[in-house]
Symmetry: C2
Subunit: 206 residues, 2 copies
Amino acid sequence: MIHSVRIMAKKISRNGSGGKRESILRAATRVFARNGYFNSKVADIARAADVADGTVYLYFKSKEEILHSIFDQNIADAIASGRKLIRALSDPREKLRRIAKLHLERLGADRDLAVVFQVELRGSTKFMEEFSAAGFAEYLDLLCKILEEGQRSRVFRKDLNAKVVSKILFGALDEMATNWIISHRNYKLEPMADIVMDVFLNGVSA
Amino acid sequence: MIHSVRIMAKKISRNGSGGKRESILRAATRVFARNGYFNSKVADIARAADVADGTVYLYFKSKEEILHSIFDQNIADAIASGRKLIRALSDPREKLRRIAKLHLERLGADRDLAVVFQVELRGSTKFMEEFSAAGFAEYLDLLCKILEEGQRSRVFRKDLNAKVVSKILFGALDEMATNWIISHRNYKLEPMADIVMDVFLNGVSA
DNA sequence: TCTGACTGAATGAATCATCACTCAGTCTGG
DNA sequence: CCAGACTGAGTGATGATTCATTCAGTCAGA
């Protein structure tokens, strides 16, 4: 009995929305987004999460690991959602449209997270390289595979390098997100995906 | 006689490639590119420029101002080059092709500068917003104006928002540059402009 | 031409505020 | 009472910036 309760507690504390770890990650996202990673003090994160400074170190090895965790958790989730979303579809164009929409939808739904992804994670080659090695490359690969599939079925032009073309698409979406953050006007991010996909698909269709 | 010699000396020390200010800027670009802005010590920059720590402060108010100066100097130069390059051209498509090539040519010619532009300048919303207000917006506007011109002459589709479309183009080029930096393989950046422009122009042409 | 006063660029050791991280101790549920 | 989650004051390192000092070069007067 006691045993199972402890396991539950552990589980909640690891994954649940009431857990300290989650709470620290959410707080850190907010703090990083507001001040920038290097200007954020661990003490600020602790205060925002309503825990003591030391508690942060019970859950994360270092300040840097917090940033990593924010990225890891979200990119893995995004890729999983993306794969699931396109599983039932057959038209490569539609697959890309859905992925693009999901991409901007997710970032548009949480401005703080978007800032961390678009701004803070870019702030050092070290991070860029580490991150690119992991989830980022996987995301690009997801796009690339769809493009290749479309080339095989002659939906997309075959004279283009799929890898390069997937970067073009990613770059266009990425810029939409970055501009949305910088701009202080209040518009919806996700509809931008339609315009991007219009131009892009028109450009790569056979 | 002596007087004119002094004026020459002053002029060289302000603008010439042998001047300390220039030398500090070049050194800073290298150091920022290697270590990242926040991990770079002013002392590192001073050593790389072969001057004393304090000398840096005779030319720049702060470490931050050094980063600003690197950006300001280069973006202004890039925009001027771009405008000059397209002045004699009439076809909007050709104008965009030339600008895109110039964009990647400049970054591809100086990896350190590219790292500062693609990575270090992105590392804080504060920088992003300040920079976007100045030169970056002007660059986007340059693209936008060409697109609008092309729409008027029915070269480009009129059903697209020129501002958004210019961001798509910028984002695609930007991603080429960023990927070139992250990737450790040794390829030329500038030819990527052709592929980008192929897809892009195909996508926006009427 | 020589000399002594003057200038201001350049120096780099010292200052001082800032944090990431630690750890000795407290609290609490069972 | 115990285990272990949690606390938060303290520590040590770091690094941007300052400023008293040096010294190479300029200049004016004799």
